[in-house]
Amino acid sequence: MSARVSVVIPTLDDYELLEAHLPLLLEEVEARGADDEVTLVDDTGADLLAAWVAERFPGRVRVMVRSENGGFARALLTGARVGTADYLLALNPDVRVRRGFLQPLVDALEAPEVFAVSPRVLLGGDPRRVETHQRMAVAEGRLRSVPLAPDPDDLAPRPIPFPLGGAMLLRRDAFVAAGGFDSLFEPFYFEDTDLGLSAWRQGLRILEVPASVVEHHHRGTIGPRVPEELVRAAIERNRLLLHWKHLDSRPAALEHLRSLHRDAFDAAMGDRREELVWLALALESLEPASASRRSVTPVVRTLAESLEASDPSR
């Protein structure tokens, strides 16, 4: 008997995306025959989806309505809490699943040391642009992700630094018990990276399952609603917070500090104000970042060891 899955899709009024992607998901879930459940979390704060879903997918999708918009992380937690299955599949409404994507994920999560799994995520459906296949590395004092080109013939699950928040399967109880993603990264971006790195540092593993494939039409939800400069500010701020949370050696901290001073001075010299804004924004969250830093326990692997262990090209 295969484990049951609670599929949770946090969403705004993404009617077109849901119209296009939800039927495929429901077909897949129902075909698996494992009594899985699908929950949409209406994060519009205005109860816009219940009637629409009831009309189009009667009896097949549960809708949870949030009284106010809380962002992806909070909405996912809302859905995860009401789920009843062992496993939680987090999906973005801009993710389009491909046939047979779910069972390989469920199979791959059986090993207890595996914290989460992600399908192979193709950006815009392009098989040459694999979003999940990347490694993370510290270069010139900064933590960066490096996209990799996977071997299309190698379908064995590979370690990856983090599960993609918009398409990941993990144990529901553990996720709920931990309070979901770290709120440090609200409203969006890098919360899934942090989840993955924290798991690796605690001695667990994250896998990409190439036999499971989905398409990600990136920023199909955020892009139309949030000005580009705010999206960029969130990305750059959270990139720094992520690094600060997981920095664990004095030499690495010194190198990082040097790079920050150098970049800040360069930005001031070149009147590149936006870079100063990102840095100032991140520094405003220094206290919560320090608190989050203390929450990563027990630490089994160092950051460097985690990055090395999670490198899919290893």
């Binding site: 000005p227 705010l230 500090l257 040097r258 100063l276 220094l286």
Partner: protein, 864 residues
């Protein structure tokens, strides 16, 4: 509220009314809680064109924009944009557009900032913002034809070097006759040459200003007359906001002297020594004044010809020319005057000197023009005199000097000007209104509620000046370094090196801007030079081709026959065309060459500047290198010191640990000593007890030996031999005791036998009696009874014998008992069976095994 004031000049490089007022206004805004930054152009040796330097004043900043005569409005507007992007004010308040041009008004709006402009004169309406023709005749605001003729006429003045810095006007008789005729003809519209260009220029300027002022959120003027005229000229509403003065500066001045007291009236002029200011009119009026009076002229100007004339004329009429003064000296200068004159010929708007004289309680005589009429009512604080009419001025001054009670009346009715603080408050209201209006017009981007906190933070940070943003980042990085335990690391030192208060930061920032400007300029010049070179080459090719074709045509023409007449004519015409074309091409080529030469010069200039900057860079680089070496040395030293410190720390740590260990050992040893001391005391006590016990036991042993001897004597009945071994006494006692025990046992057995015999006899008697009575008759029973009686008699005899034997045994035992029954023997015998108690009651006290062991040891070691 963050406010940027943009002005054409600023003290100390510009010290006229608007500049001084802008400085005071900046201070008053700061006093009201605003953050103020001023941008002002200036020209100083040693600074790159377009560079910006910031300095701190009394709570506000001044950014100096380095300009040169060749600096274009475009450059200044770009510099303004950079300044505003860095400083991020909410309100940009232009005090004058001179040098920047009208396009500057568009920049704040493009950056999302409020734009306010205050007109202090007619500059927004006319290029000749004095509204003064070269012949010192004013023209009306909006009279574009008069403006065009004035521009055309000023062109004429520019060609007369003798006039020097004429400021666009000449005094009657100052021009050569021919020039005077030409000037009059131009002003009368009788010389059309160049006038259309001037008219086009006026139209173009007017349109540019009208368009640009439409972009401003608020247009202000300092007088009603000016607001009215500018509203008409710009086609946009201009509101009135009078300027104020710092009343406090003039609060404690001595009052003016009333001429009624007999002292000469002290008349003064304060301002630019310029023709349109009418100083010459005042000199003429003073020359004609027949009353005790002094005339003091304070001020300076670039119009050296006029200044020379003023000085000469002042000497003639007895006036004193004091020259220029600093604004800070103004209260003292006003204190030295009784009457202040403003004899302007131009339509002066609202000169600050009038308000400052009012604040100082001085009597005014002012030209009777429309805007100045707003300053006070005639005969209420001062008098008006017709502008340019010396006689009218003489009459006014004469009245003040001589008319009884007039001076005091004028003085007592003087109007109190607006205070600077009130002006600042009024402006803050206006700024607030403008910002509110802008906010209502600008839709805030709608984002999901979860993104709103991020949006608000980003917006606030984006609104910070770059300097503050950078400072905030450095402060934050310091906290981050501390969080990471790297407080004293080089990164923190770098932060300090480039952080707040470091001149290196401003220098580096300016340096970076200069280099960028130079690079861009160099690139533009090189591009233009290459283009011009290509064009010149092309023109040279064209000219060569034309020459070649002309030569060919000429050759063909020379070879032509009469039959070819028509062709020759055509060829000649062609030749003429080609010659014309060649000439045109030559002219183009020369022009291109000229342009190229100019560009080369420009390039050389830029190259020189770049070279200068490179040299300065090299010099700075050398200094930097020295500093770097010093820094490296210091780092080395720091490393050594760090190493030593680390070593010392380790050493200290080891010593501390050893000390702690030793302390522990000492404490343990002290504890051990204390414990041993206690134990020793206990042992000593125990030893003492043992010694007592030993003595007691020795006594006891002796006693018991005596008792044993006595007991032996008692038991054996014989005395022990003298000096016998006490063990022999014990053996003798034991033998005697064994004998007694045997006797007693025999007695006990005999008594038991007797009891058994008696009992058996009784049982047998009863059985025989009972058997006889049951089986036989009374005879049998009597026989049996007889037998029993005989048996009883035997038994009695036996019993008597036994009794006698028992009595003998008892007697023997009694004797023995008598021998043994000495007093205390029973207690001593019982005491022998017990552990003897230690003397002093300590014998049963529990002892530790160690103590016992020690005691045993001591007993073993101690000779007994």
């Amino acid at each position: 509220m963050r406010v940027a004031l943009v002005v054409h000049a600023f003290p100390p490089s510009g010290t006229h009314g608007v500049e001084n007022h802008t400085e005071a206004f900046a201070r008053s805004l700061v006093a009201k809680g605003c953050s103020v930054e001023v941008l002002a152009p200036r020209t100083l040796e040693g600074f790159a064109r377009g560079s910006q330097r910031r300095e701190e004043r009394d709570g506000y900043g001044v950014t100096w924009l380095q300009v040169e005569p060749a600096s274009t409005e475009r450059e200044r507007v770009d510099a303004l944009r950079g300044f505003l992007e860095r400083e991020r004010p909410e309100v940009v308040h232009f005090q004058h557009l001179l040098g920047f041009g009208p396009d500057a008004l568009r920049v704040p709006g493009e950056l999302g900032m409020a734009c306010v402009h205050t007109a202090h004169d007619f500059h927004p309406a006319h290029e000749t913002w004095t509204l003064m023709r070269p012949d010192l005749v004013p023209f009306a605001c909006g009279d574009d034809e008069a403006q065009a003729r004035t521009l055309r006429a000023q062109g004429l003045l520019d060609k007369l070097p003798a006039l020097g810095d004429h400021h666009g006007t000449v005094l009657p008789g100052q021009l050569p006759e021919a020039a005077a005729v030409t000037l009059a003809a131009i002003l009368a519209g009788e010389r059309e040459e160049g006038l259309d260009e001037a008219r086009a220029r006026v139209r173009l300027r007017s349109q540019r200003f009208r368009d640009a002022f439409a972009q401003a959120d608020l247009r202000l003027a300092t007088s009603q007359a000016l607001a009215r005229d500018l509203t008409a000229a710009l086609g946009r509403a201009v509101e009135v906001q009078p300027s104020g003065v710092d009343l406090e500066r003039f609060a404690d001045l001595a009052p003016p002297r009333d001429p009624a007291g007999g002292a000469p009236v002290r008349i003064g002029f304060l301002g630019g020594m310029l023709k349109h200011k009418g100083v010459h009119v005042l000199l003429e009026a003073f020359g004609a004044l027949r009353a005790p009076a002094e005339l003091h002229l304070h001020g300076s100007s670039h119009d050296r010809a006029y200044t020379r004339w003023v000085r000469a004329r002042a000497r003639e009429v007895g006036a004193v020319v004091h020259g220029g003064y600093r604004h800070a000296e103004l209260p003292r200068l006003l204190e030295s005057l009784d009457v202040v004159c403003v004899p302007s010929l131009w339509v002066e708007n609202a000169p600050y000197v009038i308000r400052e004289a009012q604040a100082a309680g001085r009597v005014l005589v002012v030209s009777d023009t429309v805007p100045l009429r707003e300053s006070f009512d005639d005969e209420e604080g001062g008098l008006f005199a017709a502008a340019g009419e010396a006689a009218a001025w003489t009459r006014a001054l004469m009245r003040i000097a001589t008319e009884e009670g007039l001076f005091e009346r004028l003085r007592s009715r003087a109007r109190r000007p607006l205070d600077l603080g009130q002006e600042a408050e009024a402006h803050l209201e206006l700024y607030g209104r403008v910002l509110e209006a802008r906010a209502s017009r600008r839709p805030r981007p709608m984002v999901p509620a979860s993104v709103e906190p991020l949006r608000a933070r980003v917006e606030e940070l984006q609104g910070l000046p770059t300097r503050e943003l950078f400072d905030r980042v450095l402060t934050g990085l310091g906290r981050l370094a501390r969080c990471m335990g790297a407080e004293e690391e080089p990164t923190a030192l770098l932060g300090k090196a480039v952080g707040a208060g470091s001149p290196m930061r401003d220098l580096a920032l300016d340096h970076g801007r200069e280099i960028r400007w130079l690079r861009e300029t160099l690139r533009a010049v090189e591009t233009e030079r290459d283009e011009q070179a290509r064009r010149a080459d092309w023109l040279a090719d064209q000219a060569a081709e034309s020459e070649r074709r002309a030569a060919w045509v000429e050759q063909r023409s020379a070879q032509g026959s009469e039959a070819e007449g028509l062709e020759r004519d055509w060829l000649r015409e062609t030749l003429q065309d080609l010659e014309q074309e060649r000439d045109w091409l030559k002219a183009q080529h020369e022009e291109a060459e000229s342009t190229r030469a100019w560009l080369r010069e420009s390039l050389e200039g830029v190259t020189r500047e770049a070279q200068w900057l490179r040299e300065r860079d090299a010099s700075r680089e050398a200094e930097l290198e020295t500093l770097r070496r010093e820094r490296d040395w210091l780092r080395g030293e720091e490393e050594v010191v760090r190493g030593e410190a680390a070593w010392l720390r380790e050493d200290a740590e080891a010593l501390r640990r050893e000390g702690a260990w030793l302390r522990g050992r000492v404490e343990a040893a002290e504890g051990e000593v204390d414990r041993l001391r206690v134990e020793r005391a206990e042992v000593e006590r125990a030893f003492e007890v043992l010694r007592e016990e030993r003595d007691w036991l020795q006594g006891l042993v002796a006693t018991r030996q005596d008792e044993l001897r006595w007991l032996r004597e008692q038991l054996t009945g014989e005395a022990a031999p003298e000096g016998a071994d006490p063990a022999q006494d014990g053996a003798a006692i034991q033998a005697a005791t064994e004998a007694l025990r045997g006797e007693l046992e025999a007695i006990r057995r005999h008594a038991a036998w007797l009891h058994a015999e008696v009992a058996e006899l009784a049982v047998a008697s009863r059985g025989e009696l009972a058997g006889a009575s049951a089986s036989a008759g009374p005879d049998a029973v009597a026989g049996q009874l007889q037998v029993l009686r005989a048996a009883l008699a035997r038994a009695r005899a036996e019993l008597g014998w036994r009794r006698s034997e028992m009595a003998a045994a008892r007697e023997s035992a009694d004797r023995l008992l008598t021998r043994l029954a000495v007093p205390g023997l029973a207690e001593r015998l019982s005491a022998w069976a017990e552990v003897p108690a230690a003397p002093g009651g300590g014998g049963s006290a529990p002892r530790s095994p160690e103590a016992s062991q020690g005691q045993d040891q001591e007993q073993e070691d101690t000779p007994q």
